[in-house]
Symmetry: C2
Subunit: 464 residues, 2 copies
Amino acid sequence: MNKPLKFPTSQFVPETGNASESVDKTDFTRLCAAEHPADLAVQFSEFDMEQVADIFTGLSPDCCADVLVHMDYDDQREIARHLPDDILARIIAHMSSDDRVDLIQSMPDERGEGLLHLLAKTEREDIRRLSSYEEDTAGAIMTSEYATLSPNFTARLAIDKLRLEAPDKETIYYAYVIDTERRLIGQVSLRELILAKPNARIEDIMRRDPIRANVHDDQEAVARQMAKYDLLAIPVTNGNDAMVGIITFDDVHDVIEEEATEDFHRMGSISSGTGGDDLVDIGLKDASSWLLIQKRLPWLLALVFMNIFSGAGIAFYEETIQTTVALVFFLPLLIGSGGNAGAQSATLMVRALAIGDVVMKDWLRLIGKEVGIALCIGACMGVAVSFIGIFRGGPDVAVIVSLAMVCVVLFGSLLGLSLPFLLTHFKLDPATASAPLVTSIADIGGVVIYFAIATWYLGLGTIA
Amino acid sequence: MNKPLKFPTSQFVPETGNASESVDKTDFTRLCAAEHPADLAVQFSEFDMEQVADIFTGLSPDCCADVLVHMDYDDQREIARHLPDDILARIIAHMSSDDRVDLIQSMPDERGEGLLHLLAKTEREDIRRLSSYEEDTAGAIMTSEYATLSPNFTARLAIDKLRLEAPDKETIYYAYVIDTERRLIGQVSLRELILAKPNARIEDIMRRDPIRANVHDDQEAVARQMAKYDLLAIPVTNGNDAMVGIITFDDVHDVIEEEATEDFHRMGSISSGTGGDDLVDIGLKDASSWLLIQKRLPWLLALVFMNIFSGAGIAFYEETIQTTVALVFFLPLLIGSGGNAGAQSATLMVRALAIGDVVMKDWLRLIGKEVGIALCIGACMGVAVSFIGIFRGGPDVAVIVSLAMVCVVLFGSLLGLSLPFLLTHFKLDPATASAPLVTSIADIGGVVIYFAIATWYLGLGTIA
């Protein structure tokens, strides 16, 4: 932002007392006109939501709707909870169709039903229809406020129609050409319309067979499609190819951010869930301790039980350890290195799969490449660690530790590479191959490889 | 996509022989008209780039420019390398200004200079000016093809001007109002223009003081600003508030994706670099083994040397270990749990800092919350592990392991939370607080905490 935004909080909202009596609502009406709704939303989010609801009762429903959609889902819900039904219904009527569906779905069922009955019939039916699509699909994020044209319109008529409809549409920069059965047959941009001769027929200037999404497509796939083709908006059709909505570029920003955050969290072994109260929606700062424990504990406990196996591995080699205690000094280093190498290759692979840079069929080729890389990295690390080995445990330990290092790095790297592919193959999210999971499996392998090599090598030594 | 794209590769491009003689270029001209450039780019990327360059010589520069900007940077460079100067210059003239700057910057200096001299003077100066901005700033990703209006135009005149200029502008959906010194004073959307009365003056309908970015702003900050305000395009101004460019929504998709990938890689301890040959630009599939080794080895070696400390920690407690070898069974489990808990909180924190959900001043409050969460998680894990402890090492070991578990989880969690903040404080990228780094530090702490508790507890036991 080029200029700092000042919001005289202390002046408007007293620390104590009944807010509704002391807040001067006309000042907010002035702010509504002067400030961007996104900025107002940031500033309102510092308030108590009951007070914000109270301020809303004095503002135009139009302004409230604009500010509301820029607030956190949690804050939206809180404000809605404190607003009387009639005022809330008027605000909802001014929201775009995708945003109001989200808000109504977050309410208790009876309240939502009550509100629906305060809305006009067409709006009510629109909300019911949009609510019926599964979460994270194109249908769930699309809006039904798009502009349509008939193929036999002229460019002049089309521009006139768009001008008339502009206030109610999410975008008028693309208009969609539909036939009598609402089947999507073409698309024309406002740019093309104003460049065309006024008498040109839409049929002749439209782009036929525009790129489209299906209502049931995954929202992430739609986001990538829009990014690939640099689209401002994408039309959404149902199974009969009838047009049912559009998704605009601003919805897609949120989707890309949200999916990346989810992948991040999975990589860090933080459980992901669905539903309005998910960590991705709420944000870390506002998440309750209880929610965070729910997200973190299950994975940690699962990893504890996996580690029983590495304990068992060590117990199996108890004798070797008792002979050469110095081997234990290198245990954290070795299993750590295997885990780290695995975490690296898993990270690379999960991200590459997420952005579509790598697909299933690349697996075999990548395995070959990874073997080369891991052997090279392992050899470098083996040499490095052999110096420490000589210093701390003598030449025997140095040989064992270096050998084990190469094997452990190779094992970890191949594990980190393969696990995401394996999960994809079984239709699971590859990001579940989190660093902690890869590390834990690499731990078990590392322990067994290390002590097996030690036992073998020391056995040789005894014979010699 | 709703329909599968067929590209008759075998028909057009023979396995052997001189491609230029046998490729029927008219077929590609037909494809150029029928297919979206993004799809053509995907299909061309399967070809040998020398052949693609050859095909380009037979296509219109316009179509080539469209396809080229949708290809990987590496492929772009390869094609450019095989194209004669005159044809390449004509293609470049059809590219948008941000894209051609990227292409010319990727070439050897002499070739770039030679090409510049084949372009018109205004284009040459434009490229020189855009090239002067530092990488990853607003200046580096902006384009200079924006529409400007004078404040005393009428809406009708403005629309006529936009109509005339449309073919050369990146977007005509926003026009920027500048004064005689090119200072940005307002902004008007095409939507507002066609809704306005034809005789309305721009001055009266424009939005004053539009949201803007500075040429030196970080590209990620600009991307977030655009997402926050749902902007199709953002004007870029220099220090004197003079308008110098715009950034459009499609550039921002790439930025968000790129920055998320970089953060991902850092979290996985994969070194990040700058420059055209970085892993983020190239993609995992096409990266050379050598590049990957360069990215991965330095961190792994650094972590090896950090692990020397955990080895030293174990050596210090050698006596305790020799008395109770069963303690070693739990070593991987304990240090693993501390590392995992740390990786979780680091992941949450790095992502929250990246998307701006959490800022520096939240640190103290979050520490307090994290202590509560970590104690609760640690207690649960302590109880879980005590059962294994009794079974594998007797009651003494069970008590030691449970106690150590609580302390280790607490230590790891606080470390994972604090490290990203600490890095931010020292102006370093918080994503460098990668899972492997946190895990390695947690390892050292875990070893010391575990054996210190064991020595203390067993010492008590001997006295009793």
